[in-house]
């Protein structure tokens, strides 16, 4: 009976997800597409939770639905509500469709093959057997920060590159109008709660679902909320500190990697006795960098005075000349 109820629930969930994905892609209204995409992200988080992948569910809810949603909403802010999504020609549309179809077929084959492969090396068994020397007891964190730490380092580099591109392209977007007192009131007690939750996710990542990406995204959410409620606060950022925070994740990661190379001959080959501490240090730095990167991406460009921090004198001279 219970199994039947669960399968009804799961089938409804999957059908809803497909319906939302379809309407997100087929709607002509950009704002509607973004709203539907956020709803789809939340539903996808529930699907991950049902698949017993709470780490992915957390990441999808915080990053996929939350931060991506905020980024998309701020990106389409100036669009009129009825803007058409596509002005592409038939040929390009046809190419995109056939590539997508090829990708779907390839992925279906990969999933089918993965489920039915009977012999060969299973990665999860290897992870579980090596877990004791990884320094953490959460297998997901063990893979991300120890066994495949190099991949995570490159992921951080991708985030940094994306944000540097955003900073190169634009000044920050104009502020929203001053918000309501109710929102400010809620922000005042929600931001400390978000900061504490972020710290909790960072700490708990060692033995339960959580970790740097989720914690960083939650910290960024707190910053975005602050900016929405108090638009004028932005000028009080210490921009020099912001630059350090932006790169501290990769810097710490590479530094620890090189240090371990001097001891163990391989880049990022952790000494098992220190692995737990090293992972926590890297994750803390990464959390700060991810939060800074996502916040800057949300601003959509350089905050006011960004260039001035490293060439103060010239900038003042230029401004003086202009006036």
């Amino acid at each position: 009976m219970i199994e039947l109820l669960w399968s009804i629930f799961d089938i409804t969930l999957v059908l809803l997800l497909l319906a939302l994905a379809w309407t997100t892609c087929s709607t002509q209204d950009v704002k509607r597409a973004v709203t539907l995409f956020i709803a789809m992200g939340l539903l996808l988080a529930i699907v991950w939770a049902r698949l017993k992948a709470p780490d992915l569910a957390l990441a999808e809810a915080v990053i996929g639905a939350g931060i991506s949603g905020a980024l998309l909403l701020s990106a389409i802010r100036d669009y009129p509500s009825t803007t058409m999504v596509s002005h592409r020609s038939r040929l390009i549309e046809g190419i995109i469709n056939s590539l997508t179809l090829a990708l779907v077929i390839l992925m279906s084959w990969a999933v089918w093959h993965g489920l039915n492969m009977s012999d060969g090396v299973r990665l999860s068994a290897q992870v579980i057997s090596q877990l004791p020397v990884s320094g953490v007891s959460n297998p997901v964190t063990a893979v991300l920060l120890n066994f495949r730490a190099y991949d995570t380092l490159l992921e951080l580099a991708v985030v940094l590159t994306a944000v540097l591109t955003v900073l190169t392209l634009n000044e920050k977007r104009t502020d929203y109008q001053v918000s309501s007192h109710l929102l400010q009131g809620m922000t005042r007690w929600l931001v400390p709660l978000l900061v504490v939750t972020s710290g909790y996710l960072l700490w708990v990542g060692a033995h339960a679902p959580g970790g740097a990406f989720q914690a960083g995204a939650m910290l960024a959410a707190a910053m975005i909320l602050l900016q929405l409620a108090y638009p004028s606060m932005r000028q009080e950022f210490n921009l020099y500190l912001l630059r350090i925070l932006l790169v501290i994740g990769i810097f710490t990661f590479v530094l620890v990697g090189l240090w371990m190379m001097s001891l163990n001959d391989d880049f990022l080959a952790f000494t098992p006795a220190w692995a737990g501490t090293l992972i926590l240090i890297i994750e803390t730095a990464a959390t700060l960098s991810i939060a800074t990167a996502l916040t800057l991406a949300y601003l959509g460009g350089r905050p006011m005075g960004w260039e001035d921090t490293n060439r103060t004198n010239r900038s003042i001279a230029e401004n003086g000349g202009a006036e």
């Binding site: 309501s180 109710l182 809620m186």
Partner: protein, 95 residues
Amino acid sequence: MIDTLAILAIFSGLFFFLSGSIGLLRLPDLFTRLHALAKADNVGLALVALGVIILEPAVINDIKIVIIWLLVMAASAISSHLVARHALRENRKDD
């Protein structure tokens, strides 16, 4: 007995969610829809949370559920307020 109570709470919560959704689809303008959605969702979530608390023996998880309920309630009240205020400022041109 306890289980019956929990199921009763959860299903009456679901009833409120259902009526909120029907209100969202059927009511004529933005303000009445917001009204239906926010009220029904808060009570609905409260009843579902109550049912789950009855079923969940660990006190720490019960506290987490209550905190989630409070957060959702605050967020839904304030987002309804913001949507309504924005609509008022746009001179109700958008239903």
